[in-house]
Symmetry: C2
Amino acid sequence: MPISQKAQYAVRAVFELAKRQGAGATKIGEIAEAQAIPQRFLENILNSLKGGGFVESVRGKDGGYLLARPAKELTVGAVLRFVEGPLAPVECMAGNKKGSCPMYGGCPFLSLWARAEKALEGVYDSTTFYELVAQEAEERRKPAVDFTI
Amino acid sequence: MPISQKAQYAVRAVFELAKRQGAGATKIGEIAEAQAIPQRFLENILNSLKGGGFVESVRGKDGGYLLARPAKELTVGAVLRFVEGPLAPVECMAGNKKGSCPMYGGCPFLSLWARAEKALEGVYDSTTFYELVAQEAEERRKPAVDFTI
DNA sequence: CACTGTCTCTACCGATTAAATCGAGATTAA
DNA sequence: TTAATCTCGATTTAATCGGTAGAGACAGTG
């Protein structure tokens, strides 16, 4: 049920680029190190993100990656959807394979899944990378909050 | 990212038992047929649910399964958690493997994941099987709503 | 008791997916 | 030309998912 490692790497990479926006291209290696992502794997991910219009690349020496859009216009939801597909909590809600469910037509859970999806979307689509960067800068000023129970 | 098939089978099975609560034990075969679940697989699931205290079993002839508690006290969230583990959107939030994350201590996404988890919990923990059964009965009276886009 | 229908338990299997790696190539700056 | 960098597809490896199998335990019936 959780978000895949790959998707987390993707958002972390975009986050890192957001932090460095305006400072020229960032090499894959730097992103990999800063965010603790296997470099070879990150190559694939960034390349795919480029196809999605999230990042741009510069080749050759002094090359690297840049955010393709202002961080204020980039939501976590958009990135997650791009790498993971719909934010649907169950397969049968995922558009492409509707009708695959034997319960289709009278599924008593449909509206529940729909509510869950809306709840998730509400969180992810309302969070921009700009906010995340700002929030991190803020938290660096103050003592970290411990979320342990 | 979606909820596993197994977990969906589990909630469907519990739902079926909720519908039949008060009518004696229901055989695995009947549940399997009513909810379109592979019977052999359902055996495992129900047995596991028994261990979790969600259902009770009666062996021998005229045996079967019963809901262990009133449907009003059984939430979808409780069942999902039992079969799938924590409702956490990412591994590193899942209690058991905290500290496995290389970002631990200063992860800029922690509060985001926490909000996502809360949102999901809000939906799943507030929905009881009693409501689902009632809702289905209601919808059977009226024409089905088509969620297709 | 023997029989039958039911749940119980543990192991197993095949396919798919996730995560990561690799290698050879293309591009650019110096 | 050389070195640094992205590009792209293929490959590997390991885990997980969905499902199956079979022997056994238990309870009621005649």
